[in-house]
Symmetry: D2
Subunit: 242 residues, 4 copies
Amino acid sequence: MVNVTVWNEYRHEKSDEAVRKVYPEGIHGQIASFLEASSFHVRTATLDEPEHGLTEEVLANTDVLVWWGHIAHKEVSDEIVERVHKKVLEGMGLVALHSGHMSKIFMKLMGTSCDLKWREAEEKERLWVVNPSHPIAEGLGEYIELEKEEMYGEHFDIPIPDELIFMSWFEGGNVFRSGCTYRRGNGKIFYFQPGHETYPTYYHEDIQKVIINGVKWCQPTTYGYPKYGHSEALEKIQPKGE
Amino acid sequence: MVNVTVWNEYRHEKSDEAVRKVYPEGIHGQIASFLEASSFHVRTATLDEPEHGLTEEVLANTDVLVWWGHIAHKEVSDEIVERVHKKVLEGMGLVALHSGHMSKIFMKLMGTSCDLKWREAEEKERLWVVNPSHPIAEGLGEYIELEKEEMYGEHFDIPIPDELIFMSWFEGGNVFRSGCTYRRGNGKIFYFQPGHETYPTYYHEDIQKVIINGVKWCQPTTYGYPKYGHSEALEKIQPKGE
Amino acid sequence: MVNVTVWNEYRHEKSDEAVRKVYPEGIHGQIASFLEASSFHVRTATLDEPEHGLTEEVLANTDVLVWWGHIAHKEVSDEIVERVHKKVLEGMGLVALHSGHMSKIFMKLMGTSCDLKWREAEEKERLWVVNPSHPIAEGLGEYIELEKEEMYGEHFDIPIPDELIFMSWFEGGNVFRSGCTYRRGNGKIFYFQPGHETYPTYYHEDIQKVIINGVKWCQPTTYGYPKYGHSEALEKIQPKGE
Amino acid sequence: MVNVTVWNEYRHEKSDEAVRKVYPEGIHGQIASFLEASSFHVRTATLDEPEHGLTEEVLANTDVLVWWGHIAHKEVSDEIVERVHKKVLEGMGLVALHSGHMSKIFMKLMGTSCDLKWREAEEKERLWVVNPSHPIAEGLGEYIELEKEEMYGEHFDIPIPDELIFMSWFEGGNVFRSGCTYRRGNGKIFYFQPGHETYPTYYHEDIQKVIINGVKWCQPTTYGYPKYGHSEALEKIQPKGE
């Protein structure tokens, strides 16, 4: 059984009535709920818990970490970021959602500014599948339509994705690479753009499907961790004349 | 004319007679020499200069930075690393040579450990071209043979290269992705593995060709730097009913 | 000097007054005109010439072939397609424009159906740059806007591009991977979507810039053509006991 | 349950005692045997059966096709190749083994010559994993060592793989991209190099593991087949003034 930890900043829900109305149990609560229903073993963790809820023990028992953060990226301690980074390189999967693109952990794994254009305008978004045989697109139609989402637009300053799964159309005239995968060390990473806190995006069945598929895709393989450092020759080396 | 700054740690040459014998003007001196002959405008910079020779002014006049470092990666100040990182995202090219794979700047751009297997054994290396139409392979034959190089072997913990140009065969039984390109922000990056300090690798004509080609490939384009942040709609957005 | 051959089906211009009005010298005439002004050595060739204008001699003197075809793909003889295919694998560049996505030569190089969605509706298109440091984007702003273009939409059944340069937004709600590069054999290929015959797309300065950049990018390198077939060992092989 | 059809040319085994000794039930028999043990539903098909054993009915019930061919590629009828090609684009997986690189179906899907260097010299091969988190590498160590294999060497004239899983070292001084994935249409393709007919490669446990993993990876997803052709607008298009 895949062990999933859903991490949420959990601030908007406390300070903003409109967000609380959409996500009374927190964004993490809603995400955990449909992941559990899909028979993952799920726990949650939030910024204001000790060690942000991401203790060594929790991470040791996490196969895939789902990350939602927005206004408090800077409050995440560098020590915990190092810890999560190390775990990803060792094989833990990471699903970064929405404004998670500017979380410290995602930026550290990418090496770029991860910046983009944005607009909050109750705007229609249509996510087109461009990689139809990818397991993350399993069970979808040709596109997902969201009546209202925050616009995230190109240029999106990320490394070229290993795989591009979704390309989004926005009503206001922008496009976006809205579903991207990366491999870093032994870990797999899936970035998925939808999920602004004031819209009911995580109740949308196809969005749930994508996140479920993403968690499955990100789960660790049982490949032995590579050995680095000094290495003896596997074949005989001929002496070179001086 | 392309402005190139060749950065070298410049420590082995001072402390080790064997290295000084191979590179009496320093590794940077030798690299600068064949780049100048290829009509780049070249300057050099080294670790022990103020600001490691990488002042704001020097970087403002650098199109492509060539980086050789090995035993003193940790002595490079984080402030200078931030400065170089910012410049790469803005468009400056970076050619990382040999042990530069574990320099702070390369690791920051990659997001992984950049670790690998290694062995110093006067070992034959053969670099096979696997991307023959790439400008970095221009003018080469099917492979480059080096009588003696340090073995760098897989698994090499890097992000999947945007482009793989060379794959190396080592006498002792290992293989290595020895020529890789990446894009980060507006900047282009070329990693090229040969160049152990005790071997005369940077006198080899084909190795010089590759570095010259790499510098050309990494030079900035004149694309306007993308605009990030809040963005007005380009098309009219329909009001959504509540 | 780069030798460019601009190939055009040249049928719409003969049969359709509206097209002739936009392109009185043929689509090939207009493309040749701005390529010449950019100091390429340019010739043209069309479907109804003997051997479609693509004799062995013409191809032997072509560095980059630009291809525009639409309603008469099937009239291109298989023999000429084989000839062009062989030349691309040997290193000739190919710039496939607009409906060239379903030309025999493009389909043969891709291995897929190359099918897509389409609509002629005087529709606004906005081509966003998603690979800003790529030489094909040199000199552009963040996007190119075309007041009217034919919609080409996802899913576009192509192999995953080696490099994605442009992503298009269409007024009617679709997106499209509108600028893609591929390598096949020693040859480089650039597919660029705009250019419906009834719209003045090839008079647009930025579209011209992209095609000029594309031709430059596609030009052959001087790498020696790889040797295939039986090969002697480069190292001594140990006898294996039976 | 995944339906696998193992296709074999089945000629060497009939004409050559040495091959028959290694594979008394045919290469297809041995491959079918370990796939069945891994609980796939397996059938076999061979060149000399009617329609090469690949009737419409067989293909309609095939999720993944495994292909081994060598000396009789030209005897495979173009009609059957078209049929298999269509099925791959619709979603059927294809695992191409060893000399399958020059089968008509693989070449048609690639668009290149698929040529390479080769040598039969009872040579040691070591396949290094370069994509450790990929499901095709699941359960392996850092490399697979084969005491004797046929050398396949670079340059290998294939499109740049979507994913590179294995890089091989050969005793005689060559390297090879020995495990590669591609997507074509809705179908996934895995090319895996080992398997010369006179060596017992398909009895090697790790080689079996890779083929089993490859078949799993290639299985179709349930994504609805994309719709191509003329498409109505999803959004209202503004009339343009003339």
